[in-house]
Symmetry: C2
Subunit: 241 residues, 2 copies
């Protein structure tokens, strides 16, 4: 019996947004791996509560750092590289024992997901399958009832970590945009939207599809506090009826 | 009892990629509306086969034109505007009778979906909910096992209908890209990828997650035939291990 790797997209947070395929994969998995911050269940793990086998082995993969060190710093790169090597080894030990390992991924596994780091290391050596998921951005614009892009709109997905001038340039050059990694970057994102003439169209969504979610026009949000699970949506379809 | 509108994302084509929430909404819907070409069941309708109530009323909304008239032509605009007005009226008659109407949408309803045209007309007047779905692009890159974007990558979604020079400029300016509406635009898309120096990274996916699907490096695809359900993926994450 050969080990099998499955990247499972768990969607934006609401367990009802799991796919049938994800539910079946979770019910069949011998081992369920999930990325998390030390001592805290990640969002993907919370989403699948109640969908795992009673005898499934849980394998938390705990980031050594998240935002304590700047992502560009050499110490960050070294810590993260060592972490992915160790996580790969931990998963591979189960694969070598013939087990099916489901690796949880918030949203969609191959769309900015941590699972990608395991996939590129293990998929060349083991049977691997990726189950796509509903992205966080889809969850957010659906909850907001905000048509995002239509017809010949260009849609750009922008990390909020980009330099402010580049953010502004790209916002001005796209019919529709989604800004991820908002958090501490919200003041710069707000200024970039103003520079691009798009603040009035921007919608801020916090914890989309989860409990205690919030949707407000960004121009009406008085403070610049934003948790990790927040996005800014700039809809296109300017000629909508 | 008040009528209720639900936009239901049916995902990329594989019925297993329906969400639990979509399945429950379909099982509860009095009326199931779906966009289609005259005389042909659309892909969304095929995806939900077996998930509808036996007594559900089906409401096909048949496009008067698809590709017979150029999208920019005045005759196209007039035909399409009349179509959406008639489709809105047909759905609204059921809402006024107190029925729950599920409108099927391939992929995700508010991401380039026809459902958006009904949503903007009806959501101001009726209780409306949107159930997000797995997008076609997620289905395609998952099937290809192709990590699409990571870290600070900018991802651009491009309609293949854009002018060739604009396509090339935007491809060169983005770490990762997805080109939709491939079909007859494939020769121009290929030339734009060459101009942007990205043909070697491009992957062509036809009918992702459906039967008779095909995934090939675009550079190795000998012909320029491409059906409507095809995409070109240009992955980012250039520094991947």
């Amino acid at each position: 019996m050969s080990g099998r790797l499955i990247g499972v997209g768990t969607g934006p947070g609401d367990p009802e947004l799991l796919t049938l395929k994800a539910v079946r994969a979770l019910a069949a998995a011998d081992v369920v791996a999930h990325f998390a911050k030390e001592g805290r269940a990640g969002n993907a793990r919370r989403t699948v509560e109640g969908f795992l086998r009673a005898d499934a082995v849980e394998l938390p993969l705990c980031y050594p750092v998240t935002t304590e060190i700047a992502a560009g710093a050499p110490a960050y790169g070294a810590a993260i590289a060592g972490f992915y090597a160790a996580a790969t080894a931990a998963v591979e030990a189960h694969l070598a024992a013939g087990r099916t390992v489901a690796v949880l991924s918030e949203g969609d596994p191959l769309f900015y997901g941590s699972y990608m780091h395991l996939h590129v290391r293990l998929a060349p050596r083991w049977p691997a399958e990726v189950i796509p998921g509903v992205t966080a951005m889809s969850g957010c614009w659906s909850q907001a009832g905000l048509p995002l892009a239509q017809g010949d709109d260009v849609l750009t997905v922008l990390p909020g970590t980009l330099p402010e001038a580049e953010l502004a340039r790209r916002l001005a050059d796209s019919a529709a945009s989604v800004i991820m990694k908002v958090g501490r970057n919200l003041p710069a994102i707000r200024r970039a939207l103003i520079a691009a003439g798009k603040l009035g169209r921007a919608v801020y969504v916090e914890r989309g599809t989860m409990e205690r979610t919030l949707t407000v026009p960004l121009a009406g949000k008085a403070d610049d506090a934003a948790p990790y699970f927040s996005l800014v949506l700039v809809p296109g379809w300017e000629g909508r009826p």
